[in-house]
């Protein structure tokens, strides 16, 4: 077994507000092997983006990492100084943000933005930069002539692809993606996912992919972590969780999207709304919305425990475990 690429242990992030601290990420642990594709799934406000930012060392006030550790390539990221961190970003890991519309500079051509990133991280000559820029753009399926294009001249899908191309300039070991496909149409979304998966296979980088739509990662990820209210609710291999989702929340997410095939079934979605993290519910955080809530759920907070091939945070399985 090779050493894990990324090892996150009990990472905890608080937002310091006037009304007190709000815990957005609560003791989340995550291991990413080299070349692995991890999907992180959850609703708005569940802490998934905060987790990504903390992993990428991009946390800025009012958010603070208050506990836990991030080991990347065997190094404790909290101890890496700002200069070295700047060197590691883009070269060793890169981040693709959610909205390419806001992430690209509208005043600069795509090529100029690639050049900026490369000049900040290498001593390469102008020709080498131009060549590499053309290479990565073609990798994501965009003709190199578009290096001269400005963001507004490209479609949403192409902008998102060029963001991914930019993240691959130095062929990093880890690419962190925050909902890169959610602003796209269905066809563009599927085509982009296929592209990401192909690149990941051929170039061998690992992907941590955040989304609110469980169906998006279903055919592409190796493992899935479902987050709820700042905590990991369930972690399992993709085929395991789609075959048999254990946590009632995972089941709710699975049942939330309509299908185009088979009989038409009524969908319920997940009633209610995600909890206010400044006052999380007592006991299990999902209990106010849970269809299988038991009296004990209001009292006791479940731990993340192994059940079968998965890890799940739910009292339904704690009792089953005691019994066996």
């Amino acid at each position: 077994m090779p050493e894990p690429l990324l090892e996150v242990t009990d990472l905890t992030v608080d937002y310091q507000t006037e009304a007190g601290d709000v815990r957005a990420v609560d003791r989340v642990s995550l291991t990413v092997e080299p070349g692995e594709f991890i999907g992180i799934v959850g609703e708005s406000g569940c802490g998934k983006s905060t987790l990504l930012f903390a992993v990428a060392q991009l946390t800025s006030p009012p958010a603070h990492v208050v506990g836990g550790k991030v080991l990347f390539l065997g190094r404790d990221m909290a101890e890496v100084g700002p200069d070295e961190l700047r060197q590691m970003r883009w070269r060793d890991y890169s981040v693709v943000m959610q909205s390419a519309m806001n992430a690209l500079n509208p005043m600069k051509s795509i090529g100029a933005q690639f050049k900026d990133a490369m000049q900040a991280h290498s001593e390469d000559s102008a020709e080498a930069i131009a060549q590499r820029s053309a290479e990565v753009l073609e990798l994501v399926g965009i003709d190199a002539v578009h290096l001269k294009s400005y963001p507004h001249q490209l479609s949403g899908g192409m902008r998102q692809r060029s963001m991914i191309a930019m993240a691959l300039l130095f062929t990093p070991r880890l690419v962190i993606m925050d909902e890169p496909t959610s602003a796209l149409d269905v066809v563009a979304q599927r085509s982009l996912m296929t592209k990401i998966k192909d690149l990941q296979r051929s170039l061998g980088f690992a992907v941590v992919f955040v989304t609110h739509d469980m169906s998006v990662v279903s055919h592409y990820s190796d493992r899935v972590m479902v987050m709820y209210a700042g905590q990991a609710a369930e972690v399992a291999r993709t085929e395991v969780i789609f075959e048999r989702p254990l946590h009632p929340y995972s089941r709710g997410l699975m049942e939330a999207f309509p299908s185009v095939r088979g009989p038409r079934r009524a969908l319920t979605g997940i009633p209610g709304r995600p909890p206010d993290l400044s006052h999380p519910p007592a006991g299990c955080r999902f209990h106010p919305r849970c269809p299988e809530v038991m009296p004990a759920c209001l009292q006791r907070e479940p731990e993340l425990l192994p059940v079968g091939g998965a890890q799940v945070r739910c009292l339904l399985y704690e009792s089953a475990k005691d019994g066996s």
Binding site: V187, A188, M214, S215, P258, V260, G262, L267, R273
Partner: protein, 344 residues
């Protein structure tokens, strides 16, 4: 589990049409004022929406679906063609009274529930304003009562009226959008991508609510979306648009189970479904065409796997291909008699 929402209402009997678009066309000039280049957002679009039915208008960004909604809402003037609402030409509605009437009958719900609400007013403000403007006969107490009633219909508690938009979640804001539309006693709600900005987990609730508006409030909905799976879930009829042209139209189940246009087939194959193990196999990158000064021919031909010579010479017209099922494609062939059962 209850019955799926769309099944109990058949699209067979919809009575007198509510809204009818005939040869609807909208072009936009692009570039400078002197420029003669025209972007063809919508070309020769025909559509009929009956009473008490949900019609889904499906297409990708740039297909012209929002332009259609804006034409219906009288936010744009058509370049050519006409819209009739309950037999009256919408073009001819010019007086304040007529416009107020038309807008009250056909309110719009917008895509982004975060930027379409005024953040400095309480939620009640928007609903009350709609009521004062469109139903001046109501007293203050009656307005209050009506606001509480429409909140109930869309699944919000009456206490929510006192909240500010920032206190509401995305799903609640979108319900509020429907409550405001409902307050004016509409016949047809124009809903432009009402769920695409929401989390998947709460979309189903909004879709179910749209179905109950149809079933209980007798409202028709034009549901604009790029997600054909949700269109199937909630609509009676599906209209597929591509690059400004209507390419396929028919009852939701027919279009889904026997899609005839290659574009509809592509849309369907792109829907991610973990219950399905087949991976997506298409080299298509989802790039929409630019429809600037188009020449004759099918606009899908560059992406079409089955295009023939004719497709680049003659623009396909919409033609019947099954029961209430129409397609604009030179290649599509009608279902063989008898095989409908097998594939359906």
């Amino acid at each position: 589990m209850s019955e799926p929402p769309a099944l109990d209402s058949s699209s067979a009997d919809v009575g007198e049409p509510l809204l009818q678009a005939v040869d609807l066309t909208r072009h936009f000039r692009i570039g400078r004022m002197s420029s003669r280049r025209m972007l063809h957002a919508v070309d020769d679009f025909d559509l009929t929406i009956g009473q008490r039915e949900i019609v889904a208008l499906v297409g990708e960004s740039g297909s012209g679906k929002t332009t259609v909604a804006r034409l219906f809402a009288k936010l744009y003037q058509p370049t050519r063609g006409e819209i009739f609402y309950r037999g009256r030409s919408v073009e001819s509605l010019r007086s304040r009274k007529d416009l107020l009437w038309y807008r009250g009958e056909t309110p719009m719900v917008f895509q982004d529930p975060f930027s379409s609400l005024n953040p400095v007013f309480r939620v009640s403000h928007g609903v009350m304003r709609c009521l004062i403007l469109h139903r001046p006969e109501l007293s203050r107490a009656e307005r209050r009562q009506e606001a509480e009633r429409v909140f109930g219909v869309v699944g919000l508690s009456p206490e929510m009226l006192q909240k500010f938009p920032y206190e509401m979640s995305g799903g609640e804001r979108q319900r509020l959008g429907f409550a405001q539309a409902l307050a004016v006693r509409p016949k047809l709600i124009l809903a432009d991508e009402p769920v695409s900005m929401l989390d998947v987990s709460i979309r189903a609730g909004i879709l179910n609510m749209m179905a109950s508006l149809r079933d209980e409030e007798d409202v028709s909905v034009l549901y604009i979306t790029h997600d054909i799976a949700s269109a199937r879930y909630v609509s009676d009829r599906i209209i597929v648009m591509y690059a400004g042209h209507l390419v396929e139209s028919g009852p939701a189940e027919t279009v889904l189970s026997r899609p005839k246009h290659p574009y509809t087939q592509l849309l369907l194959s792109a829907v991610a479904d973990p219950r399905e193990r087949a991976p997506f196999i298409s080299a298509d990158t989802g790039e929409p065409p630019k429809v600037i000064d188009p020449t004759e021919g099918c606009r899908f031909r560059w992406r079409c796997p089955v295009a023939i010579d004719e497709c680049s010479r003659i623009t396909p017209r919409l033609r019947p291909i099954g029961t209430a099922h129409e397609v604009a494609c030179h290649v599509a062939v009608p279902e063989e008699p008898g095989s409908a059962e097998a594939t359906g």
